[in-house]
Symmetry: C2
Subunit: 190 residues, 2 copies
């Protein structure tokens, strides 16, 4: 029994190591640099070990993405709770979201562009994912009026996500970013 638990503990530790290495690698060099070979070398195990922990590369990306959601939730919460006025809170949360996407582009991609095998709009979605979404919802709640809160949150989320991905993909100039953000949030602030 004790040996079994120790093995499980070691396995869990190694799994954390893999995820951490993947995250380091991707944040430093982007997803195209994360190959199973490089990742295996980084954790000092052979490639097949990765597959004993994860179904495939996508699953590793998904695990990294879940960590990203936890981080995002923390940053959004900090932005929301440090503001007093509801409009200011929404503006700060929006800015925090944008900053997250800008400062961790590869992580953001894993969360919102790649890694389709994560359950999203369902109760089975990871808690961190719900937590991040909840922060957006609480930020918009005081300003929702008679609109459906869930749908309104999703719409706001879509707006933020669209602006960030278009900018990141080179479709929008960085110039004007602040003003676009202000325009978007202004439209959700009454």
């Amino acid at each position: 029994m004790s040996i079994q638990t120790r093995r499980e503990r070691e396995r869990a530790e190694r799994e954390r190591l893999i995820i951490a290495a993947a995250r380091e690698l991707v944040e430093a060099e982007g997803w195209e640099a994360v190959t199973t070979r490089r990742l295996a070398e980084r954790v000092e195990y052979s490639q097949p070990v990765l597959y004993s922990h994860f179904k495939g590369k996508d699953a590793i990306m998904a695990a990294v993405a879940v960590e990203g959601f936890a981080d995002l939730a923390i940053e959004l919460r900090a932005a929301r709770t440090s503001a007093t006025d509801p409009r200011r809170a929404l503006a700060d949360v929006g800015a925090a979201y944008a900053a997250f996407a800008e400062q961790r582009p590869a992580l953001y991609d894993a969360m919102f562009t790649h890694a389709v095998d994560l359950p999203f709009a369902s109760p089975e979605a990871p808690a961190a994912l719900h937590a991040a979404f909840d922060e957006l919802r609480e930020a918009i709640r005081p300003l929702a009026g008679e609109d459906d809160l869930g749908l309104l949150t999703e719409t706001l989320w879509g707006g933020l996500h669209g602006l960030m991905t278009l900018m990141r993909g080179g479709r929008l100039r960085h110039e004007g970013h602040e003003r676009r953000l202000a325009l978007l949030l202004g439209r959700f602030s009454r």
Copy 2:
């Protein structure tokens, strides 16, 4: 001279053939199915021929994307000009944009997610690209008020793009799509 022009004509025709084949393939099976081998087989030439026309796979995707922009511009224009009321026109254009993204998901991806080597927010961007953007701008113009028209158009575009990509990536349920769209466009209609 005549031989030269005939050769150029044949080259241009073959280039069109490659783009058309790529588009067919991608719309039928998605981008992961578009390999240089399959594409070469489809146009009945060997792989290296592709590289005598395009710098690489990305360039082929870019060419397909440009076709997509032309199509999108046509559909947006049809939606905009067939409505009389400005608010209705905006709603119709938004719906047309969403329908395009939903019905041609792989093409939409090439236009807005992949193919980074296309110039976008610059005068060198392909005419079709400007045309599509112009349609959005003209749709929102009567409702812009005192906001900067260009930035407002970009913000609206971001909202539409975000909703569609989140839904396509499984981040948002299809259920509620219409109402989210209405919420977004409503926020841009005063």
